[in-house]
Symmetry: D2
Subunit: 371 residues, 4 copies
């Protein structure tokens, strides 16, 4: 099989590197185009990223590629025409408005954009994809293309890394028929979520920081769009994704001295129908979704792993489970205030960032949108 | 002024050492008696504790004292008679039942016990003291003595270190007239809470552990006794402390790679009357209690410090505020599910353990119970 | 090919688990026998090790095996006879004399012992093997067997984990014709070297400990045996390994807050013939030895990896290179006092412990000693 | 006594803050002038430094002072004239040449400069002061003033923080009559040495970095100037400080996950006369110098503290000894290659930076240079 050529925007940053690392030996995709800031443009990747390569194999995989200027759309379009860039993963790090405009330019130039950036998460016709949860939201792409006059291009995004440790577990319970009304979550988040150089070590030695700018708002709102539904699309209204109304979420986001792996402590209030602990475990253990049915290469075999030990999940022990794509949960127990409590954990730069993006690309390919 | 001679039980352990460290240059109390396990008994303190002294000054302060066997009550009684041990701080580390019996033996021998151990926290006539909150609970001591036939001895205990970061703030709000109905708390707790050797470093490098045995139950229940009231004491009923019914608390307790300082992320649901954020700040900033009025030497000037920065409190920056006895709070903001959220922080081995014990002793002295 | 059945002694400890983990899917060996302390004996491995399994896959691989008492030699002999235990990896954790005697009993019972323990490192006819360095020392086995009256059994050991980061690089230079006279080494050693629970977290948060009991002596002496030669073996003298006289080594051993990966800062004084930096790099990059020629499954392709960046090797980035079996070196530069300096790094529980042991077993198998 | 008014240049940076913190309640000096980059100039200190104040009390001490532009010499001169700035501590963070010129401008304007910066460390007539070691080097000031045409101003600097853990111990031995010929040192340095934000946390979680740019050269060379002597000063030659020729030093500098406190592992080669371990201990324990004789307020009572435990010094336990101004040494033992080995530790931002600077100022004041 000929592999689909793919580009990475923001290729020298931490998430960009994570994308490159995950594309090494990918069965369907092949890295052929890297773009970054004007400062890096024109250099070989290995020179542009020298001294700040965080993942093994990245230098070997991308080192000889010449970095393009990410804002040079015509260059990307030429690459696309030359068969070197059928779509891009966007890991751009710039101002929100700039990213927004730039991603639209790529789409307009016929290059689908699968983005890690938050810029388009609240654009009404852009889906925020967690492949196991709202794969059906890709169906908005034709409407998105039509509304914007794009033929081949489109934009999909993935949500913030902080929500991955609880959103899929919640969805599994909802799909099994249990309404979840309210949620109070405290997250203990890894420093890699802030990129590199990111959090100063003086703040992370013998310390935690109980604040991450903008993170609590994202953690409270993004799940509602993911759990929402495609509406509109009639004669007079454009298609858009309408937020779910529940659950109401309150998030306390903390930065802790962990390299990778976000942990979430969750208290859930159900509607009138309440599952037992054993039912919850069974629902989570049995949960499979479209990525598993389609056997997408990056999909974990079991999206949710239930640990029975009373001190798990733990970041260092559980974050890498099943290619770092599985969500590990544990400590499922009654809540003294709401109904049930649990602890969820996911790898923030794989499941929560580049790995989730690659999985989304695999889904889109199988659904025919990258053809 | 002649200082009151005091003993420390469990003097070679971590909390015992913290007591010794806080008694250095204490204006009212003087360390004159140290007791520990039979293994240490008969040795000079500096030899018994060699290689595991954690605080500066401890060796100089206690090094030449000969360690007694903590279970040798007659020896303690002789010391008391000789004017070397008017009361003891108990930092015993043994089985719960053993501690319970041993502490009772000291009290029966006429030696008041101010305990750090959890053994007697649920004994109905033993107060669980946070000096700023339930100082009035010391009034149960006469009934305790009477019921047990003790003349001079008595037992008071201090609560678990995990609750100190939120119980005093809650109390200040309740005292200002705001009912608090429900509370969901996630704690990020320092490793010193587990003593020494305590938590293995392999569990605390690039990791957190979302579980501390027994801690969630304590964090949920102990505040209710502290916020309770003395009942009974009539002709037919013994005096006892009746738990408050509210707030209902759900606690998620996590161990994090921090040496000292427990952080709590708290969501509060008030009764019908709800304070504004500004009111909450004012109540906390203005809060003073009996230890402040009595100008007890170990009392912080302001029991609750409100920080306005959005990323505080932090353990390394705030735990030592005002002799490590102040509670620092911050991030007071609306809760998306309950009414208000905040972050609280206290030093777990000072405010939450030995410092709290010394403050309790100062209170008891001023109230005439150590006379 | 039928796999050779193998046992692990001390199977529930950290190094024992590391062995089990490395035997998963091993092409030549198959775990069939696990032994540990009497406390664990008779239990299923998953129950005996419950709550302290550190590596993924270990529970699946060994969980259903029933743990034998490691000191029950007759049980091991039966297992050997039944075809379940052709040799053992010893990761025993007990007194040195006990281990010594026990390992000899296994050998006497016809079960070869490949040991991680330090007990036999200074037994004259027991080789201390680093497969790339002194593979020829296995040739002492016939003499060892003969002297002790063993037919099939024998004992080989691997050296302390602290020396792996510099011994192979030294050997490569010596083999290329450069005499190394003196060496001053400072190590920054990972906490996993102390096992579990091992180093308390209170000692490793915002701290380092400049002392590891017995480690400096091992770091200074063991390389001399490894670099030594088999002597004796005539009519009147037993065969033994005679220490090399050079290099003289001074080691400063420090414990640092790193989970895995020992770093060594090395200053080397050569004899009259001194290599240039470029020669050193070429020698190290080109170095291959018998394990590479024999293509042993656990052998790294290149035993020594030279990094050109000025801030490498680093534990988190380099320890896992080539199945965690390669030694990474960097910062090769002139020494202001001796001739040259460099930094070496190896994974202490893989290259420096269980991985080194498995590699030794592979070597012994190919040399016909496990046949 | 009227306090001497003092200014801090680079007042918002980490070392600048450390200076401010040490000047709180200083018996001789009073902070009256703060200067920083143009970005901060004109703002109140509390606003200029908002969100990055690292030390308690700094905001209270300096918060209301209006920050001057550090390159505005005329403003400083006015402040000097107005009696608000008799001398300055320089903690400037800019290009080396800029700092050099700027410090000279202050001196030319009649304002003595006591500098933390490395810019002037190799200027021949500028002393690099460690108050206990080369206090006599202040005698070059008259010649410095004369050569440059300065009346009241002058420049003195302090050395790099990395050398403090071994230079004073070496000097004490040399002064006792023992020549030290060669030294191989490995340092384990705290992250605060790199300022704030400084070292990224991703590099300091489960990791060490065996490289600090420029640090090894400083660690090898600066002690030689400190141990040197004032030469020249005749009719035809300007006065200058001539380097000592010994000891030759080789330094390996490592960054480790410690907030404060640099540790040094040292191997020493003596001349023909070699002290015993007991002599070394006695020399270090007995060592006192001019700052102690003059009872300078910031001087530690005993400059060198010898610990007898085999696992000390340790950063978290020893860095704060005697106002964080004492150097703690331990593990004095024979060296297998040179003569003796030891471990030294000092607080890098106090003893090694601002505290050393304040002590230098106290010395200069008592010697009449700030009068």
């Amino acid at each position: 099989m000929t592999k689909i050529p793919v580009g990475v925007l923001g290729a020298t940053g931490m998430v960009g590197q994570q994308y490159i690392s995950l594309l090494i030996n990918h069965p369907w995709f092949e890295l052929r185009y890297v773009a970054a800031s004007p400062r890096s443009a024109g250099k070989k990747y290995k020179d542009a990223a020298a001294g700040r390569i965080h993942f093994p194999g990245v230098e070997e995989a991308a080192g000889e590629l010449v970095v393009a200027d990410a804002s040079d759309i015509s260059r990307a379009a030429s690459a696309a025409k030359a068969g070197d860039c059928a779509f891009v993963f966007s890991a751009l790090e710039m101002g929100k408005d700039e990213i927004k405009a730039l991603e639209e330019s790529y789409a307009a130039a016929g290059i689908p954009v699968i983005s890690n950036a938050s810029a388009h998460r609240w654009t009404p016709d852009v889906p925020v994809l967690v492949a196991e949860v709202n794969h059906s939201h890709v169906d908005i792409i034709p409407a998105q293309r039509k509304a914007r006059g794009w033929d081949r291009g489109f934009i999909v995004v993935k949500p913030n890394c902080s929500i991955q440790s609880y959103t899929t577990p919640l969805y599994a319970l909802m799909q099994a028929g249990y309404e979840i009304k309210r949620l109070i979550v405290s997250t203990l988040q890894a420093v890699s979520g802030a990129g590199y150089p990111g959090v100063p070590s003086l703040d992370m030695i013998d310390n935690i920081v109980p604040y991450i700018g903008g993170e609590e708002e994202k953690s409270e709102m993004e799940p509602l769009k993911i759990l929402g539904s495609i509406e509109g699309g009639g004669v007079n209204t454009a298609s858009f994704i309408k937020n779910a109304e529940l659950p109401k979420i309150s998030a306390h986001c903390n930065r802790v001295p962990v390299s990778n792996g976000h942990t979430a402590c969750v208290s859930m209030e159900f509607g009138p129908k309440k599952p037992s602990i054993e039912e919850v475990k069974k629902i989570w253990n049995d949960f499979r979704s479209l990525p598993q049915e389609l056997k997408l290469p990056t999909a974990p075999e079991r999206p949710i792993i239930v640990r029975e030990e009373n001190d798990r999940p733990q970041p260092r022990k559980d974050r890498d489970t099943d290619k770092a794509m599985a969500i590990t949960v544990g400590r499922i127990r009654p809540c003294n205030v709401f109904d049930l409590r649990f602890v969820g954990l996911s790898h923030n730069t794989v499941r929560g960032a580049a790995g989730g993006g690659v999985l989304n690309a695999e889904l889109l390919k199988q659904k025919g949108y990258l053809g």
